[in-house]
Symmetry: C2
Subunit: 511 residues, 2 copies
């Protein structure tokens, strides 16, 4: 960890040394109660409809192992249709063993993050097949860019966790690339990460490699988790076998799982927001129940990813008013069940432009007001998730830092109320040179990494560089400033050996 990150509220060396000045690493906390968009009565109607979905319509499950668990638990299981129906009793039993809060510990214990309560974390974009920057244009995901994004996630203190493959490194074999990406996550950053839970093997590899990086056994990891995954229900109401296997592998090892139905209104759910939320809720709770059937006490998060489609084209839309509301009500539902809450701040723009900014802001405010514990895809998401963007990552870090400062509690101490300072300046005067100002001006206000507050003439004389172009300069500078976090050579060797061994074992044998 460089000095920049250890120096008080804002890094001293950055301030004096000309580096990118950013907020220090911190566990962000949201001091405000969640926004109550839906009334208690409306919440009850959403809940009741979800319960009807679970008990009357049920969820179709592909994996026999999952079906067996529900049979043992006394659910109504139709082996022919593979439909599982559960009632509220089973839901309540699961909710009795979930944890209201848990932690994720990376190889750097100083960057342990909390999920639950008023903790708020920001995740790197996950999953795009493509990558874009304004210098080199749009291209397929690849390992070089993958590694650069991990470096940026490490460098920017606003990013708390690495999502599931910031982009697909498509030049690598599909059945082993997770090993290379885990290795990059663990060596180029010191953050926790999301391991791919498509099937059992990828999940276990993530758990094992984090354990190696931490110098711990799997048993130690089970009581102090270090990786997380997301299980995305195939909405409507379908739970496939790879998801089931991944969930079970994580839960058996005490690693947290987020259940996130992917529910685009009008496509995977009815076109109405209330229906989408009721369905999302049923599907999420079904996954929550499964985690507790595997291992009671498994850390599990409630995930919301409800947005709408463009009804003209069927294309997904994000950062819409409907998505914003869903982010808020998703949080109300998570709190109702005492579950930590995951949501996102996505957008559907094809460029890092005004649309990317306002859609991201709509969704971000929804997520923050909704009391999110993690905003997934919070940095770098573009094109509805089809592209990881360098400039978008910088824009997002700026937005996230704005929110971090917004969430900093108000100070109404006598000092802050400044009566004496007011008394010291005559009517019509100014406070620029006042002692009260001089003592505080360096840290009084948030200093943005992307905004330019010069007057027009100075800005024009300096080349009239707009914010998108400035974003290019910021990520380029960040990569120059990046310092790889130190790692014990023995641990690095062990990680590399694990990857080599597993690649040999997998060969072309695993999907």
């Amino acid at each position: 960890m460089s000095d920049r990150r250890t120096g008080g509220r804002r890094g001293k060396s950055a301030r004096s040394g000309g580096g990118i000045e950013q907020l220090p690493w911190q566990q962000v906390r949201n001091p405000y109660p969640g926004f109550e968009l839906a009334s208690p009565e409306e919440m009850e109607r959403l809940h009741a409809t979800s319960m009807r979905v679970l008990s009357e319509l049920g969820i179709r499950v592909i994996g026999d192992n999952v079906l067996d668990l529900f049979v043992q638990a006394g659910a109504l299981v139709d082996r022919d249709s593979r439909i599982v129906r559960i009632d509220e009793t089973l839901v309540n039993a699961a909710l009795a063993t979930v944890r209201r809060t848990f932690t994720l510990t990376s190889r750097n214990p100083a960057k342990r993050i909390e999920m639950g309560g008023n903790a708020l974390n920001f995740g790197l974009v996950a999953g795009p097949p493509n990558v874009h920057d304004r210098v080199n244009g749009r291209r397929s995901g690849n390992y070089t860019d993958y590694c650069n994004f991990i470096r940026l996630a490490h460098h920017f203190n606003a990013i708390h966790i690495i999502g599931n493959q910031v982009m697909a490194p498509v030049e690598m074999p599909a059945n082993t690339r997770h090993l290379d990406t885990y290795l990059a996550n663990l060596t180029l950053s010191d953050l926790s990460f999301h391991c791919t839970a498509i099937g059992r093997g990828r999940a276990l590899d993530g758990i094992e490699m984090m354990a190696i990086a931490r110098g711990q056994t799997l048993e130690q990891m089970a009581t102090d988790p270090g990786v997380i995954t997301i299980i995305s229900v195939n909405s409507p109401r379908l739970f496939d076998d790879a998801m089931g296997d991944g969930l079970i592998a994580m839960a058996e090892h005490g690693q947290p799982v987020t259940i996130t139905p992917f529910t685009l209104m009008g496509a995977m759910t009815p076109v109405t927001l209330a229906a989408a939320l009721a369905q999302q809720n049923a599907e999420a709770l079904f996954g929550v129940v499964l985690t507790q059937l595997v291992r009671p006490g498994t850390p599990v998060m409630y995930g919301s990813f409800t947005s709408n489609v463009d009804m003209r084209s069927g294309a997904p839309a994000f950062g819409t008013p409907e998505n914003t509301k869903a982010n808020i009500i998703g949080g109300q539902l998570a709190r109702r069940y005492g579950l930590p809450y995951r949501t996102s701040n996505s957008n559907a723009s094809n460029a890092v432009d005004l649309q990317a900014a306002y859609e991201t802001m709509m969704a971000t405010w929804g997520a923050v007001l909704g009391g999110a514990n993690i905003i997934y895809h919070a940095a770098g998401w573009l094109e509805g998730g089809l592209t990881a963007s360098y400039e978008k990552l910088v824009l997002d870090v700026e937005i996230l830092q704005n929110m971090m400062e917004f969430l900093r509690p108000l100070d109404v101490s006598d000092d802050a109320l400044g009566f004496d300072a007011m008394a010291g300046v005559p009517p019509g005067g100014h406070f620029f040179g006042a002692a009260h100002t001089m003592e505080r001006y360096e840290t009084a206000f948030y200093r943005p990494i992307l905004s330019d507050w010069q007057n027009y003439e100075s800005w024009e004389a300096a080349g009239a560089v707009d914010a998108a172009e400035r974003a290019t300069r910021v990520w380029q500078q960040a990569l120059r400033e990046y310092e790889e976090p130190a790692m014990d050579p023995g641990i690095r060797e062990a990680l590399e050996a694990y990857v080599a061994r597993r690649k040999e074992t997998i060969g072309s044998g695993e999907p």
Copy 2:
């Protein structure tokens, strides 16, 4: 009023005819209680400090007429220093006669707007010396562009009221240009407007011209106001004579006044947010008291315009986290005193770029969460208020429409909960063709005016037009589609005659 604006939730003719599809004219309502950022104890400390500012430090007043009013009211007035000190009793007496809510009626009674309660209105940008669009670049304000902005304000239903001179038409004489701008406001739109209250004459001209446009007497206008103004205290603690005269003229005629201290932290107030808010509050309440001394029951709004400066350059910054918090706490203060609330959603960007978008969004969310009754400068503000921007106006209309849809109450009727629709689609299926979808898809979701949700390939094939360039196309199309609202020829003649007569009277005699 064209058919477009009368057709249900979204204009039918726009939908079928290929025009810009926008939300219909509406009194926006914010169904949520104001966000409580400051605790009750913190609010008390802000209030108490404001009372100390008013009773111990006082406000310097230039106009003898204002001093006289305070002397009569029993305030502590020092004629030498011109400092007026008032105590809480005087504040409370004023708050006993203010109105919690009032209306503004333009020449089109269908566009009457409410100020107070849960009503939310959006105002056109006011005051810049410059104008910009991406086709013609940056230039001085002028009457041609002035008129275009009024056309756009009339065309876009999200804009409820015209602010104080959307730009200065600098080619016109400074002492009579208010007459020309009022004439444009009244003939090219049917909205209420803000009249300039720098001195008595400009205020009275606005009141008289609105009365003519409505075919009413000044007495009728006094009980059903039609214009509004803003009195900007010269912070810290200075109330100049032109402001006093303007306020008195408006109040005498029963027209509403907004008291908005212009309080940039670190410049016009101490550098701390709590101090800035305490000072803002003292100054705003002083103006409120004055309105009630002139004429008890005068409609008056609490204005907040607290942001910070860039401590590196002293340049004003807007849309910062501090500004966002101030917008929210300003609303808490206004509610504490039972006053309608005015705030803004400004930004400090030099271009219609990412910065303009995210800063505007920060401030807009602060304003909406703060329970604003009017967001002033809501459409078209750029460069910290030095430029009125065509593309920014389009971006802002998109943002405002997003907020309008966000504020639309949730529907949890059985229909919206859609259980039967869910039952009708098998696991893993989709809802695109479902009857529940087909019946609702045309109006289910907000349709943006600026966002492009095509996939990347289609977007690229269509020219890879980014949102700023699309904004240019939107305002150009809006000007093509604009229809001047009908006006009785006799009224038009009377307005023109008034302007001619007043220009002759003023000559070069008024400042």
